[in-house]
């Protein structure tokens, strides 16, 4: 005797969070059943494998029907088809749009194109995340990207409004969109020590300070694209390293104020010019898309690695960057104070966030 048809429909849609997670993780029904079996659910409830199989199928069908709505969360809220309490709706959306750290690190900064999607099986085998789950996460990134890409207003707010995500998740998505748009390189071996959280923080800083939205809150793409004018102006900072007097003066100011305070004074003094050149050169080159993409590599190669090899502590870095930034203000010959602050405050935040093992 076989059951051709076996369904359970509740007036309030029944959602099992465990099964939902298994579904999100991309397990097939039979895999999900064996995973549930292992969790000892049968012993707790006295049910049989058949019951578990039927229950899992039912949930999977429900999720499959809900998936269409989850693509546009506002539809899920307004639809009449499934009666789901608001708290559950929020849970469904939040979990659907949640992503795996391992996955996002693979995809962050890549173009969300068909080509990338084709490579997802590599990502899947590398991360151990099922291909199905990878596809869902990738499609989520792409969907969010498409919707908010050309929208006015705050990126985070737009994401929150259209996808009804929690504040935290919306911020993460803002970072993903921002990275995908500017195609920052994050996958190089040297960058592997950085977590998604590091990047998300940097993205937030850059969005806050370096985009069009930072100066004008009513333009298209305001939070997504970097402020071209600002990048152009950054060239002006070159004077700090090009003018030898200015560079020496800057160095002596920083050294004077850090003497006795910083544990790596000698190393700092020896390296000052290199570090300053690195930071200012990066600034002047940011107008080129290619250099924008290499932004994080540059930060690591030209600043973080030298410091690390000299065993700077985080506090040393903080002291140095603070002093390095403020000292420039006292250079009379240097006239780009506002520009300098806009650049350095973000660089400083990023470097401090990224300065770990």
């Amino acid at each position: 005797m076989t059951n051709d048809l076996d369904i359970f429909v509740g007036n309030t849609t029944l959602i099992d969070e465990e099964v939902y997670q298994l579904w999100l993780d991309g397990y097939s029904v039979s895999d999900a059943v064996s995973l549930r079996l292992r969790s000892g659910i049968l012993e707790q409830t006295g049910a049989t494998v058949d019951v578990l199989q039927s229950d899992t199928m039912d949930h999977y069908r429900t999720f499959h029907m809900l998936e269409r709505l989850l693509h546009t969360p506002s539809k899920l809220i307004h639809q009449l088809h499934f009666q789901i309490p608001p708290s559950r709706q929020a849970m469904l959306i939040e979990r659907y749009y949640a992503f795996d750290e391992a996955f996002v690190r693979e995809v962050l900064g890549k173009k969300l194109s068909k080509g990338t999607k084709k490579d997802l099986d590599d990502v899947s085998s590398k991360t151990g995340i099922t291909l199905k789950s990878c596809r869902r996460q990738f499609d989520n990134f792409k969907r969010v990207f498409k919707v908010v890409e050309e929208m006015r207003g705050s990126l985070v707010e737009n994401i929150q409004q259209h996808f009804l995500l929690s504040d935290r998740l919306a911020r993460d998505y803002a970072a993903i969109v921002f990275f995908a748009n500017s195609r920052f390189e994050t996958g190089k071996k040297k960058l592997q020590f950085l977590t998604f959280e590091d990047f998300a923080y940097c993205a937030e800083q850059m969005i806050q300070n370096w985009t069009l939205g930072a100066v004008d809150s009513n333009v298209d793409d305001m939070d997504v694209d970097l402020d071209k004018e600002f990048l152009q102006e950054l060239k002006e900072l070159k004077v700090l390293i090009a003018d030898k007097d200015l560079l020496d003066l800057h160095k002596s100011l920083v050294c004077t104020s850090l003497r006795g305070k910083i544990s790596v004074y000698n190393e700092m003094e020896a390296n000052f010019k290199n570090l300053s050149r690195a930071l200012v050169n990066m600034a002047s080159k940011l107008i080129h898309t290619k250099d924008v993409r290499d932004f994080f590599i540059d930060l690591v190669e030209k600043f973080i690695e030298p410091c690390k090899s000299d065993k700077w502590t985080l506090n040393d870095v903080r002291l140095f960057l603070t002093q390095y930034t403020t000292s420039a203000h006292t250079l009379d010959a240097f006239r780009h104070q506002a520009l300098w602050d806009r650049y350095m405050s973000t660089i400083k935040s990023c470097l401090l966030k990224m300065y770990h093992d």
Partner: protein, 1048 residues
């Protein structure tokens, strides 16, 4: 022109993309009522169009208002080709026609297409202006209220309960018309949906007319069913109970609220002696195949005790030729033995018996004092051959919409269409005579059903024979009847158990004992009923769902041969089902069944029987004896051992069940029992009727001399199987209870956490070597597994009770069994359970002092009744004390469920304004029960009666049969909720899925499903909210903000 219907199309949302090129839609809407159609402008290039149309006005007869649905079609405008339909919304405007129900229908409705399902939503506002029409000869019956609820609706009081009303209309099924060969499946489905909508509208109007004729103003327990007879047509039939209801309004608080039914009451009561117009039609015996049986094969009647002595069965079958029923052979006996007694009875105070042709009541719960005695279950079945419902003129004019106007079959001379009605009249007559035989003048908990397979149809009717208190049945002045009532001074907790028939002229051999509660009157040892447990009944422990399941193979045959073979099988099935029920009841250690529903389903090559009921232990009835197993070959040692092993297992199970259901009746010493027991003749016996040659068993003497034992004989392997199957029924897991009645005895502290669900399983039997045994096992497993699956799915609700568990079985194809279950799971609070026996009583007492409506407080009225405080015999007092610890009247438990409050009126004023502005969709609760736990119904908004067809030609793509049906049932729920919300309601009570016909053709990748659901749309207010609001209507009125919270 007594009515003006006004419709406004506001907006649409989430529309499907109809133009692939632009990924957008150019939508417009057609609004159609009767023959008039209006159109909105095209709203170009949008999936969320804002039409904001003018008011479309239809000036129509109120007759049409009742019959016709409002039809809203959303289309995609196409400049070059025909406009594409996106979907439709049918709105039944009936709720707008009574003054007390909804005043406006406004809200978002899912746009439904029979091929694609729900495709977006549309916001519509509908209003009706009714002009008063005093035409005496009117054809409409606006203003008559309909309730699916099978008890007096919560915010009403029954002034008079008039009695039975029935009607049926027939038509050709559009699916079987010639035109169906050339039209699209969509057009065919829509024609069918529309026709059924029209037919049910007309049926309801006709019933309404009968109600007015009977001087009633409402139909309670309205049950409408469709018979899809295929080629021979479509029958829509309905039964109900006519009442004069009075709205309970606390005049002290809200004087203006009480208006509608006053007028009715003042009209002098003048009964039409024969309101049922089509009882006189002669039956056509040629086509009517009824089954008969040989009297030597006996089976016991539902209501009878286990003491079935075959020798009493007459050898001449007088009952043959008419429809059969449980205890059919006794009928002859009854007629002979009890005729005189009955005649005497009929002369006695039950005047209404003569007035009404069918003294039937579809109610299952009653106002206190209404039910005096219960006799037992009466049922009748009849096998018929379907024939085409002729109307040649009807075919061929389908193009004209007006031709959908239904056949009024009374107006046709051909006597063919009358057969349907004659068939039912015949069965009702049968039921009536059974009830008489039980010394009862009425049948309560009455219902009718059919099972159709090809051209064979089984008509079934069943109910509970009862003696009713006449005061509700006439337009009596309430004051007068108070003294008159309870002339027999039956104590409230057990009175209904007392036998209504004469002990000396017993209609069947039964085992009678003096009532364990009052010791004054006789009671049977087991009581079977189709009604809910009366509120005042004294019960020990908890109840449980008891099911009997049975399959019988039958040869495939045609026409009359088929009907005959079915007729021959039916009595055996009835007997088997009854035996199983009795055995399982004993196994549970219980002595009464409530809510009994026996369904016999006919298929091509088998018959299925499924009986569900809720077993309870009534304190008034004796403790059931155990089950004794008797081996047939006493010399075989190993066999003996096996039998004793089995016996032990059974005894263990009984003991375990008693513990599980907390059945611990007080031990009563023999001396206390004031009246002597009848001679100990407790040997009981049941016969297996597997084969025709079961007569030899009769010779066996089974008297084991053991008191109260119920003997099961193991005479062959079949019997062994059956005993095994008895023991395979697994009790629900800890924390779960289940019943098929409204309330579960022994549980009184429901929380408001409810989950209504429908579960469907279709199982294909491997068609090799099907025997009755394997079939039985398969069917049993199917049901048991389904229940197990439910317990598992709802495990998060523990502790929880599945209430109103309703199983239906269908046999859509050879070797295919479909089981559909609808029920509601309600969580209860475990911790409060122990101490509540006192609290609710006090609570009710307090409440009663403020409520002057007697209707509200069932137990109280009886408790405070002077009759109760009459001196009892000492023995009784002892018993009362003993049982007061364990047996609490069910009503006291129920009291916590629906505390009445005078506030209702004030509150609902606000609720009726739908909150469209709210961004989130409002929650609509659904339940098959007549109440929502933890909440109070403040207003009934009208009946919901919806019929949907869904078809697919891409079954695989939609996730196979499971995906298809899962989505469809979810859609049906969604549409019911949307209609209720648009009426301003937030719940559906007495919800029932009356039909779920599923057909598939996997080879063609096709499937079709028809679903019919109904229920009462209501506004409920949570009790906690009611209590928060001070008892002044003014405050309630000034709190519109609280209205929004109600739905949460």
């Amino acid at each position: 022109m007594p009515g003006k219907l006004k419709v406004k199309i506001v907006a649409g949302r989430h529309l499907p993309v109809m133009d692939r090129a632009s990924d957008l839609t150019d939508a417009f809407v057609e609004v159609k009522f009767g023959n008039t159609t209006f159109k909105t402008d095209v709203y170009p290039k949008s999936l969320n169009p804002q039409w904001n149309s003018e008011w479309f006005k239809f000036e129509v007869d109120d007759e049409d208002l009742q019959d016709e649905p409002l039809q809203i079609t959303v289309l995609d405008h196409d400049t070059y080709s025909a406009n594409d339909a996106i979907g439709k919304v049918y709105i039944d405007i009936d709720p707008l026609l009574y003054s007390e129900a909804a005043t406006v229908i406004s809200g978002w409705f899912p746009i439904y297409d029979t091929i694609h399902g729900i495709r977006g939503e549309i916001n519509v506002v509908v209003k009706v202006d009714l002009f008063n029409d005093l035409n005496r000869f009117r054809q409409s019956s606006c203003g008559v209220k309909f309730f699916c609820t099978t008890s007096i609706p919560k915010c009403y009081r029954a002034v008079v309960i008039h009695g039975f009303v029935e009607e049926l209309v027939v038509n050709e099924d559009p699916e079987y018309q010639w035109i169906d060969r050339i039209r699209t499946p969509r057009a065919s489905n829509e024609a069918r949906q529309r026709l059924i909508s029209l037919m049910s509208g007309e049926l309801q109007r006709k019933i309404g007319l009968k109600v007015l004729e009977m001087r009633g103003n409402a139909v309670v327990g309205y049950l409408q069913c469709f018979d899809l007879e295929g080629e021979s047509g479509l029958v829509v039939r309905a039964i109900g109970t006519v009442c004069t209801l009075d709205k309970i309004s606390n005049t002290a608080f809200l004087p203006a609220c009480n208006s509608p039914s006053k007028e009715m009451k003042e009209i002098p009561f003048n009964e039409d002696p024969n309101p049922n117009t089509h009882s006189s039609g002669p039956s056509t015996p040629l086509k009517n195949q009824t089954y008969s049986f040989s009297p030597s094969k006996s089976y016991s009647r539902q209501s009878s005790s286990s003491d079935t002595d075959l020798s009493l069965t007459p050898k001449t079958g007088m009952g043959s030729g008419s429809a059969g029923k449980e205890g059919g052979p006794f009928k002859a006996l009854l007629r002979q033995q009890t005729q005189t007694a009955l005649e005497q009875r009929e002369g006695s105070p039950h005047r209404f018996c003569r007035r009404r042709e069918f003294p039937f009541f579809t109610l299952t719960a009653f106002p206190p004092g209404f039910l005096v005695h219960v006799g037992g279950v009466v049922s009748a079945r009849s096998v018929k051959l379907l024939d085409r419902i002729h109307n040649p003129a009807f075919v061929g004019i389908m193009g004209n919409t007006r031709s959908y106007k239904l056949l009024d079959w009374n107006s046709f001379n051909s006597d063919e269409p009358e057969t349907r009605d004659a068939w039912w009249a015949e069965i009702r007559q049968e039921i009536k005579s059974h009830a008489k035989a039980l010394g009862c003048h009425a049948v309560v908990g009455y219902s009718e059903s059919t099972s159709i397979c090809e051209e064979v149809c089984i008509l079934s009717a069943s109910g509970t024979a009862a003696v009713l208190n006449p005061r509700f049945l006439q337009d009596g002045t309430m004051e007068g009847c108070l003294e008159q009532r309870l002339e027999e001074t039956s104590p409230p907790g057990c009175g209904f158990c007392h036998i209504p028939y004469d002990e000396l002229n017993m209609p069947f051999p039964a085992h009678l004992i003096y009532c364990y509660n009052c010791r004054k009157q006789k009671v049977p040892d087991v009581l079977f009923t189709t009604i809910d447990l009366p509120a005042e009944a004294m019960v020990i422990g908890k109840g449980c769902l008891i099911q009997a399941r049975l399959c019988r193979l039958k040869k495939k045959a045609q026409a009359e041969a088929n009907a005959t073979s079915i007729s021959n099988l039916l009595p055996f099935m009835e007997y088997e089902v009854h035996t199983q029920l009795m055995n399982k009841l004993k196994l549970k250690g219980m002595n009464a069944l409530f809510g009994l529903r026996i369904q016999i389903t006919v298929g091509e090559n088998m018959l299925m029987g499924l009986a569900s009921a809720t077993g309870v232990y009534l304190t008034a009835l004796p403790t059931p004896g155990g089950i004794q197993i008797a081996g047939k070959t006493p010399n075989d040692g190993a066999y003996e051992q096996h039998v004793s092993h089995m016996q032990k297992k059974i005894n263990d199970t009984i003991a375990k069940n008693k513990e599980l259901y907390e059945i611990n009746p007080p031990e009563i010493p023999e001396e206390i029992i004031g009246s002597p027991f009848p001679e100990p003749r407790q040997r009981s016996r049941l016969l297996r009727s597997q084969s025709e040659s079961s007569d030899e068993v009769m010779e066996l003497d089974l008297s084991h001399g053991k008191k109260d034992a119920f003997v099961l004989e193991i005479d062959d392997t079949d019997a062994m199987e059956d005993v095994h199957s008895l023991l395979t029924d697994v009790p629900p897991p800890p924390g779960f209870y289940s019943c098929n009645t409204e309330i579960m005895p022994g549980i009184n502290n429901w929380t408001s956490d409810i989950q209504m669900f429908t579960s469907v399983r279709v199982s294909r039997l491997s068609n090799i070597n099907l025997t009755n045994q394997t079939l039985n096992k398969n069917f049993n497993d199917l049901c048991e597994n389904l229940l197990k699956s439910l317990y598992f799915k709802l495990r998060s609700m523990i502790p929880c009770c599945l209430c109103h568990v309703n199983f239906t079985v269908a046999l859509p194809e050879d070797e295919v069994i479909q089981v559909t279950v609808t029920a509601v799971a309600i969580t209860f609070d475990k911790h409060q359970a122990l101490q509540t026996s006192r609290v609710p009583v006090e609570k009710t007492l307090q409440r009663a002092s403020t409520d002057n409506e007697e209707q509200l407080q069932f137990p109280l009225e009886l408790c405070s009744d002077p009759l109760v405080s009459q001196p009892f015999s000492p023995a009784k007092e002892v018993l009362e004390n003993a049982s007061s610890h364990t047996g609490v009247p069910a009503a006291q438990r129920a009291a916590s469920l629906d505390k009445a409050s005078p506030l209702a009126e004030g509150h609902l004023r606000h609720r009726s304004v739908p909150s469209c502005t709210n961004s989130t969709v409002s929650v609509v609760k659904m339940t098959p029960l007549s109440f929502i736990p933890g909440a109070k119904i403040t207003k009934y908004l009208g009946i919901i009666n919806m019929f949907f067809i869904r078809e697919t030609t891409s079954l695989r793509e939609e996730g196979g049969v499971s995906g298809f049906l899962h989505a469809f049932i979810a859609e049906v729920f969604a549409m019911v909720r949307a209609h209720v919300a648009a009426l301003g309601g937030n719940a559906v009570v007495s919800y029932i899925m009356k039909q779920c016909v599923f057909m598939e053709n996997p080879n063609k990748n096709q499937a079709q499903c028809l679903i019919n659901v109904s229920g009462d749309a209501v506004i409920v207010v949570r009790e906690s909210e009611l209590e928060m609001v001070p008892v002044q209507p003014s405050t309630a009125v000034s709190q519109p903000a609280s209205a929004g919270d109600v739905t949460t």
